[in-house]
Amino acid sequence: MSENYEYFKSADLSGYQGEWVVICDRKLASHGKDLKVAFEDAMKKHPCAIPFVALVPKNDETWIL
């Protein structure tokens, strides 16, 4: 498991529910509803070799796929 994924699974990201997060070097580099904006912001502020991006699920959201 990568360090960024480990961070994503262990960090308290409840304040970012429904948003995309970008994690670089075990740090939350950026977040937002618009992934394009969040990703570009993260790469400016905290570029890293393999950034991690993921959607933080909402607590009141049940995924039926």
């Binding site: 990568s2 992934l35 394009k36 950034p51 993921a54 607590n59 009141d60 796929l65």
Partner: protein, 140 residues
């Protein structure tokens, strides 16, 4: 060898625990980007929203074609992705077909059966909180 992951955990609004079978994977494109993928054994093929595809890969030219999901009809275009699954001691790079869905709804990378279930024997062990992946050709 077997790759083992824990389920992702979150709380529903009533406080009950929700477990999701997710794994990390790296999409190998112009730059490598890692994301969390939800293993969706009910999906014929992998899928991701166009917002995520715009970051992870080059979207192919061509017209979107009709597809169908649990939410109803959706426009989609198919492409192929190179992805890497594993850890420092065991890594597997595979190519998977994937539908890019033209939707404003956000959802995570969904790993469907085509191209992925062909390559791995996958065991969901929710009572013991583990998802195991064994490369199909490495079974004894």
């Amino acid at each position: 060898m077997t790759l083992v992951y824990e389920f992702s955990k979150s709380r529903s609004i009533d406080g009950s625990l929700i477990l999701k079978p997710t794994i990390p994977l790296i999409v190998n494109s112009e730059i490598d980007i890692e994301t969390q993928a939800l293993i969706d054994s009910g999906a014929d093929i992998s899928a991701m929203p166009i917002a995520l595809a715009e970051r992870l890969c080059k979207i192919p030219d061509g017209a979107m074609s009709p597809g169908f999901g649990i939410g109803g009809p959706v426009e989609a275009i198919e492409t192929e992705l190179s992805v890497t699954i594993g850890n420092e001691s065991e890594r597997h790079s595979i190519k998977i077909p994937i539908k890019i869905l033209s939707t404003k709804s956000d959802f995570p990378f969904l790993l469907g059966r085509k191209g992925f279930f062909d390559e791995f024997v996958i065991c969901f062990n929710q009572p013991e909180d583990s998802i195991s992946l064994q490369k199909a050709s490495s079974q004894t």
